[in-house]
């Protein structure tokens, strides 16, 4: 008997956790208002209505129609790009694991009531309906039927989407009295569709996903070519059909493992009695572990190996630290400026470029640190890592040049940077440390004492300074305040 896979065993928990994470704006559920923060520029993978009171992101199908229907753009490259990126990476793994409406249907089907069937009558014909809905409602009607202002309504949302009715309509109407007065024909129409689908879901497996969902139809196209695929080991398969019996979507997995209808629930992989089915991600993970990870009976007695691991940990630690300190100031802020196209007055492209370079360097260090730890036993791991670290020195040099250019163009920037050093010194002080020591990786690992001691001193010094310096302004503030000088503006 095969062991049930973790992801299959905890699939519903993962779906629920994802729903909680992406719909975590709790105040929305008490106030009956929706979240209006910047994260809503991002499309989440599943059919997650952006008018759900807790939603932190946007629905891809809703966004697609919003851009189609706007009076400024004809097509949405952004939303298409996001959908095809999700599709190319995961395919319909989104449906199996990351879609709230999929979860609702999964849970309803678990209710032990009435006969359980997989498909509606005329399954073959009905399953083409989702393409019709995609082309007619999402694309054509939502982009062509424009009103006097040149805007089109989101037809799929307006006439069909049960996810919107369930996650947005019902909670908002209950929570917000203002909306109750506006209820009309549309609301009852969508409620009826929702109820029919919910009742059907108790008897039939995922009827909405099978027959109506345009998002599932889009992701399905990617199933045969996404990085996540199911593979059949023909030498093991005995064509018993166990996979099809376990499959709610009624797919002959052993013949068409990457069917456009497969929602990647992994039931079949767990059900196959001979272990003939596996996923590309699991296979890649196994390959990786075989190549790099130590087996439990191998020891780490070799001092070079131990030093490599310590060095790797230092790199991971320092880069994570830098990233954390940088996260708000540059990564998040720049990302939001970039995405929303709204730039503050103090914005400078050079500074943004440099922040980007700093973050790139840090991520490189992080990746190299992790790979050092994982490859600690390979003789040339350190050498190749040291070589790839040489690129850091080049980036750092460019950073210095960038700093000089920025200062020449805009001298007051020095003040901003001084302030940065006071408030988050690690990026500025940590960078030279990282570049200096990492170019000497070889020597440190091969036990050259001087290099090792130098590394240790620099590391401890940088950490101490970074932790202590943020306290300076606070101490200075106290000193000024106790001297009767409220240093507002001077100390922040």
């Amino acid at each position: 008997m095969k062991k049930e896979r973790f992801f299959h065993k905890y699939r519903h928990w993962i779906q629920a956790a994802w729903f909680a994470l992406t719909n975590g704006y709790l105040r929305g559920y008490t106030s009956g208002k929706i979240y209006t923060g910047n994260t809503k520029v991002l499309c989440f993978p599943g059919l997650n209505c952006y008018s759900c009171p807790g939603a932190l992101g946007a629905c891809p199908i809703g966004s697609l129609q919003a851009v189609f229907g706007s009076n400024t753009y004809r097509v949405s490259l952004y939303v298409f790009g996001v959908i095809s990126l999700f599709g190319a990476v995961m395919g319909r793994l989104v449906c199996g694991f990351l879609c709230p409406f999929g979860l609702v249907q999964d849970l309803l089907y678990k209710i032990p009531f009435g006969p359980k069937r997989k498909n509606l009558p005329n399954h073959k014909i009905l399953s083409k309906l989702r393409y019709v809905i995609l082309i007619l409602f999402v694309v054509l009607l939502s982009s062509l039927v424009k009103d006097v202002t040149g805007m089109a309504a989101p037809w799929f949302c307006e006439w069909i989407c049960p996810s919107g009715a369930l996650f947005a309509g019902i909670p908002l109407v209950i929570l917000n009295p203002g909306f109750r007065t506006a209820i009309g024909f549309h609301f009852w129409w969508k409620l009826a569709i929702l109820l029919i689908l919910l009742f059907l879901s108790v008897v039939y497996y995922r009827p909405f996903c099978k027959y109506l969902c345009p998002l599932g139809a889009l992701y399905g196209v990617f199933n045969p070519v996404s990085t996540f695929r199911i593979k059949v080991d023909q030498t093991k398969c005995v064509k018993c059909g166990g996979c099809q019996r376990a499959c709610g979507m009624d797919i002959r997995t052993f013949e068409t493992p990457n069917s456009t209808e497969c929602i990647r629930c992994l039931n079949c992989v767990s059900a196959c009695p001979t272990g003939a089915l596996d996923t590309t991600w699991h296979i890649a993970g196994k390959d990786f572990a075989d190549r790099y990870l130590a087996k439990s009976d191998e020891t780490l007695a070799n001092p070079e190996v131990v030093r490599t691991v310590i060095l790797g940990c230092a790199m991971v630690f320092s880069s994570l630290f830098t990233l954390l300190l940088h996260l708000r100031s540059s990564v998040y802020a720049n990302f939001i400026y970039f995405m929303t196209n709204v730039y503050p007055a103090s914005y400078s492209p050079i500074v943004m470029g440099m922040n980007f370079a700093k973050v790139t360097v840090t991520v490189l260090v992080l990746i190299n640190g992790i790979s050092l730890i994982l490859q600690c036993k390979k003789a040339d791991a350190v050498r190749s890592s040291a070589q790839s670290m040489k690129i850091l020195q080049v980036i750092y040099l460019l950073l210095c040049v960038g700093m000089i250019i920025a200062i020449v163009l805009n001298p007051p920037i020095i003040g901003v940077w001084l302030n940065n050093i006071l408030t988050s010194p690690f990026p500025l002080l940590g960078m030279p440390f990282i570049t200096l020591t990492l170019s000497r990786l070889d020597k440190i690992v091969h036990g050259e004492k001087k290099a090792g001691i130098g590394f240790a001193i620099l590391f401890v010094f940088t950490i101490l300074v970074s932790l202590l310096i943020p306290l300076f302004p606070i101490l200075l503030g106290y000193a000024l305040a106790s001297a009767g000088l409220t240093g507002s503006g001077a100390v922040q």
Binding site: T36, A66, L77
Partner: protein
């Protein structure tokens, strides 16, 4: 080229093209439309529009 290699090639092209589309879309300012739609209660989604 084996089928497997072909699939991987198509996959990488798709990923690359998608990232390119996202970048162009952001550059054209489409995200503004998305954000604008997403931060207002959508009457059509709720079913009262």
């Amino acid at each position: 080229m084996t089928d497997e290699k072909k699939i991987i090639l198509i996959n990488r092209i798709l990923i690359f093209a998608s990232i390119l589309l996202v970048i162009i879309g952001v550059w054209r300012g489409e995200v503004g439309v998305v954000l604008n739609k997403a931060v207002k209660v959508c009457m059509q989604c709720m079913g009262i529009g």
